[in-house]
Amino acid sequence: MSKIFTPIKAKILEIIDETPTIKTFVLKPEEEFSFLAGQFAALTCFGIGEGFFTPSSSPYDKEKVEFTIMKVGRVTSGLFKLKKGDFVGLRGPFGKPYPLNKFEGREVFIVGGGVGMAPLRSLFLALLHDLPKYKKVYIRYGARTPKDLVYKSSLFEWQKIENVDVELTVDVGDETWQGKVGVVTILLDEIPCDVNTTCAVVCGPPLMMKFTLQKLLEKGFQEDNIYLSMEKNMSCAVGMCGHCRLGKYFICQDGPVLTYKEIKDIEDPFI
């Protein structure tokens, strides 16, 4: 039997409702499990199969690991039926982490869309752990409606931190919403940082990624300073099964985050 395909067990400590279709699963792995921000893991819903997710919690939290998951398919529907105290399988971590050492001394410009905020939260918490190492951290986050914003309470807390600049927008507002209305790219009209040196990190649905990338390039961000989360079908997560192929890359090994410079010659990289 291959150890690489055998998950460890993890107990569900808590399930947090983020939005009507997104939940955060707080897990306690039964064996040693640690990861670096940006790496992903495979969650097994027993008897149904595996899905691949990047943890949304801090990599420095050794007690638990959190995954923020949107219900979109077979495995996530299975996960949504689970309750506190149930077990899932956990395999990983896989892929390359964000190059935090490259971010040191620079401004970091995080752009998230919808549930794409999940890996970015883990990145942000890792940056927060050593905040003085970075010049400034910006978060630009958009969701469809105020109800679709994840980590709402945290976002408002983060806004208060010195050297952290958070701006939010929703595509469609409601009676409770006082903030900006429009797609996430409206938050990129004004770029407060030095585009020559700032590292931009983007995660969200394919269309959002495409238009955000366009805007970042227009604004003058450097091709190798734009980090993009690539979503691909996966099966093995260890670079063998072929499913996550994108050009010459295996996203599970060479990614899941690649720079624009690395993928710019690939036709339709975001689906």
Binding site: T6, C236, R245, D268
Partner: protein
């Protein structure tokens, strides 16, 4: 070291190997043009004729011995793994070069990257390979186009066997390549090994040259080294045209000895879960689809293109040899009569 032995000695060797190994061998019946892969037993050995080795490779890819089409790779959920019974070592006799190159491809993917596929490693370690020359290539063969020869040449990247057999004038030439191969010949009863003389080696060379000449005659143009760039820039129109008769049966990829793709699936078996690894094919419309329904290769030409990018561009650019061995199986099984050579040469 190259030895000569006669047919009786070879048969005696087979008898003795059969005691210690599970032996895979090509087998052909009267109504077949191409042999199939069979497991040798005493009864089969009685009727066995070495002429079967003069045929081209078997219809099934040899990779099936090393990576089963359907294979259990994990058991979990409180289930202790039962000790599997000690399986015999495996001996493959009669492998052609076009089945050895694919093993080099699979080794790159399953053993030499960041992780190791245990099942494959185990099979590779416990399997000895005796290759045979391919003196009579057929029209579907094109190993020469992808940089191979119709016999084992140790200079060729990633082509490894423990012993090689050539059939010359009713004699058998046996060349030793590894220590494991040498051990296979040690202390065998009723086996006469003589050192090969110059004359028989010359005849072997001639037979090999004839096979090479035939391959050159049916495949004149060489692909080596120049195909990757062309493949990467070929456009939608090209792929649609060359794959127009494809009925998407996926036969070409399931039969391909270098295809390494697989899919993991979980199944409830009595009181535990089993994770099964299945051969997969990138021609399948669902292959790259993500949860939620988006599909980066919804159009067939993108899936077709992916196959060629994988085998002839991405793999070549990384490892300097094609993930294709010119065995011609894809062409043999194709209902749309798509000849991969024509596609490559029309680029």
């Amino acid at each position: 070291m190259i030895f000569v032995l006669d047919e009786i000695s070879l048969r005696n060797l087979f008898h003795q190997w059969l005691l210690n190994y599970k032996i895979f061998i090509p087998e052909i019946s009267n109504d077949q043009k191409i042999p199939h892969l069979a497991i040798l037993d005493k009864e089969k050995l009685e009727k066995f004729s070495t002429t079967v080795f003069l045929n081209i490779r078997t219809s099934e890819p040899l990779k099936a011995v090393f990576s089963l089409p359907k294979e259990k790779v994990a058991i979990f959920n409180d289930k202790e793994e039962k000790e599997g019974k000690e399986e015999k070592k495996i001996l493959v006799i009669g492998a052609k070069v076009c089945d050895l190159r694919p093993l080099a491809v699979l080794k790159k993917m399953y053993l030499e990257k960041n992780f190791v596929l245990e099942e494959f490693k185990d099979k590779i370690e416990k399997t000895l390979i005796i290759s045979t020359d391919c003196p009579f290539p057929q029209e579907s063969c094109f190993c020469n186009l992808v940089g191979l020869k119709p016999y084992l040449d140790k200079e060729t990247e990633g082509i490894i066997a423990d012993l090689n057999l050539s059939f010359v004038n009713n004699k058998i030439l046996i060349e030793v390549f590894t220590k494991r191969g040498e051990d296979l010949l040690k202390d065998k009863i009723g086996v006469k090994l003589e050192e090969a003389d110059k004359e028989i080696l010359e005849t072997q060379k001639e037979i090999r040259k004839k096979a090479e000449d035939y391959l050159r005659k049916i495949n004149e143009k060489d692909l080596a080294g120049n195909i990757s760039e062309k493949i990467l820039v070929a456009k939608e129109k090209f792929w649609n045209e060359v794959l127009t008769t494809c009925v998407e049966c996926f036969g070409c990829l399931y039969i391909c000895p270098t295809c390494f793709c697989f899919l993991l699936g979980d199944f409830l078996v009595e009181d535990h879960y089993e994770r099964i690894k299945l051969w997969d094919t990138c021609y399948h419309p669902m292959y790259a689809r993500v949860a939620g329904g988006l599909n980066p290769r919804a159009e067939f030409y993108k899936r077709g293109r992916n196959r060629f990018h994988c085998k002839f561009a991405n793999f070549y650019l990384e490892y300097n040899f094609y993930a294709c061995s010119g065995c011609g199986r894809c062409f043999n099984v194709c209902m749309g009569k798509i000849d991969i050579r024509k596609i490559l040469l029309s680029l």
